[in-house]
């Protein structure tokens, strides 16, 4: 037989794989996966009093155990010159600390670092844990309320349950408010949202008789109040925006992977797994980064624009 070069070997291998896939699609068809959103899907397994234990809850527990276990084993017998697991953990922490201090400055960075880094690592681990082979696959049959039995997987990505992004968004919201209030004091911080200073100035000028400047002060005062109210509203809308951004990205990714695995097995899902890995990292980075940016804006002193006329 003539000696085959590398390129023809690759071509033959590719043709064999495509033939296998075609034969598999023709002779062993699989039904399409049933897609449900987590809102009515993560069936509870047990009831501990008033709490339902759903499959996403179990997954988030596994994520917590993995994180805590990793850092526990990395910080046992700490040495000054690190090696092994401690080295790896220190690399991660140093990267995150550089990023946080780059955005928020040195001392504020230290204050924000625990919460921001914890949010980043938690979202990242949850997103990447869901790419392992076992998720959304091994499950049990459960009887539903209306008599039909559906197949419920035991493990499911924690970020696809709306509760987890909502919890993270609330944590981020309360942390930002807490940092703002402890940095600036309650009155100054609330003064960012309720800017009645200009209006009262206008009132004072009206009493003193300078009508013209009073009118302009009233105008600017009204705009100020409106801007303050908008900022207050945007603080609350941020919770919803954070939640849906993370939830939507993760759910869409999960559905995408399911569909891809059932369309063309073996080749195409590999590409999409890479995309999902990258997307998980980006979403974690965005969540933590936005929390950091809003915290930095919240502790910045609000220069009052009162005009003395």
């Amino acid at each position: 037989m003539p000696k085959l070069g590398v390129k023809s070997k690759l071509a033959i291998g590719g043709i064999v794989v495509i033939l296998l896939i075609a034969i598999g699609r023709l002779f062993f068809p699989v039904p399409q996966p049933g897609l449900e959103l987590a809102a009515n899907y993560s069936e509870p397994f047990y009831k501990l009093g008033p709490i339902y234990i759903t499959n996403t809850l179990i997954t988030s527990w596994i994520g917590i155990i993995v994180l805590i276990g990793f850092f526990y084993f990395a910080t046992r017998k700490m040495k000054l010159v690190p090696k092994g697991l401690q080295n790896f953990a220190e690399t991660i922490i140093e990267l995150l600390l550089d990023f946080v201090e780059g955005v928020a400055g040195k001392e504020n960075g230290r204050r924000f670092f625990p919460v921001v880094a914890a949010i980043f690592l938690y979202v990242l681990f949850n997103a990447w844990l869901a790419l392992l082979p076992v998720f959304n696959f091994i499950g049990i049959n459960q009887m539903q309320a209306d008599g039909t039995s559906i197949y419920v997987p035991i493990l499911r990505a924690a970020n696809t349950d709306m509760n987890v992004p909502l919890m993270l968004a609330l944590v981020s919201f309360f942390s930002v408010e807490y940092w703002g209030i402890t940095s600036l004091g309650l009155r100054h911080y609330l003064g960012k949202f309720f800017r009645f200073g200009q209006l009262f100035q206008g009132l004072g000028q009206l009493i003193r008789g300078k009508v013209k400047s009073a009118v302009s002060a009233f105008l600017y005062g009204a705009i100020d109040v409106f801007v303050g109210a908008l900022e207050l509203l945007s603080e609350f809308v941020r919770i919803i925006s954070f939640t849906f951004r993370l939830f939507g990205n993760m759910t869409a990714g999960e559905i995408l992977l399911l569909m891809m695995a059932f369309l063309i097995p073996w080749i195409i899902p590999a590409i999409f797994y890479g995309l999902e890995t990258f997307l998980g990292f980006v979403q974690a980075f965005i969540f933590a980064g936005l929390t950091l940016v809003f915290a930095t804006m919240a502790v910045a002193a609000h220069e009052s624009e009162h005009q003395k006329s």
Partner: protein, 76 residues
């Protein structure tokens, strides 16, 4: 038209029209980033990071549209 058909039509329209805006937005962002990169190739890290953040913002809006489409099409 039956409600079923309306739901599916609504789902298609939701994601179809909802992805136009963010698509154009991301394109404009990329254009601005490319221009900035061309003028100052040394600031690559900063430009890339900020571009990613801005893209995540605009993409969130198309994700909202996707959620509406999924709810319309798949939930009973």
């Amino acid at each position: 038209m039956t409600p079923e058909a309306m739901r599916l039509l609504g789902a298609g329209l939701a994601i179809g029209l909802g992805a136009i805006g963010p698509g154009i937005g991301v394109g404009i962002l990329g254009f601005g980033a490319m221009q900035a990169l061309g003028r100052n190739p040394e600031a690559r890290g900063a430009i890339l990071t900020n571009m990613m953040v801005a893209i995540a913002f605009t993409e969130a809006i198309s994700i909202y549209a996707l959620i509406v489409a999924i709810i319309l099409a798949l939930l009973k």
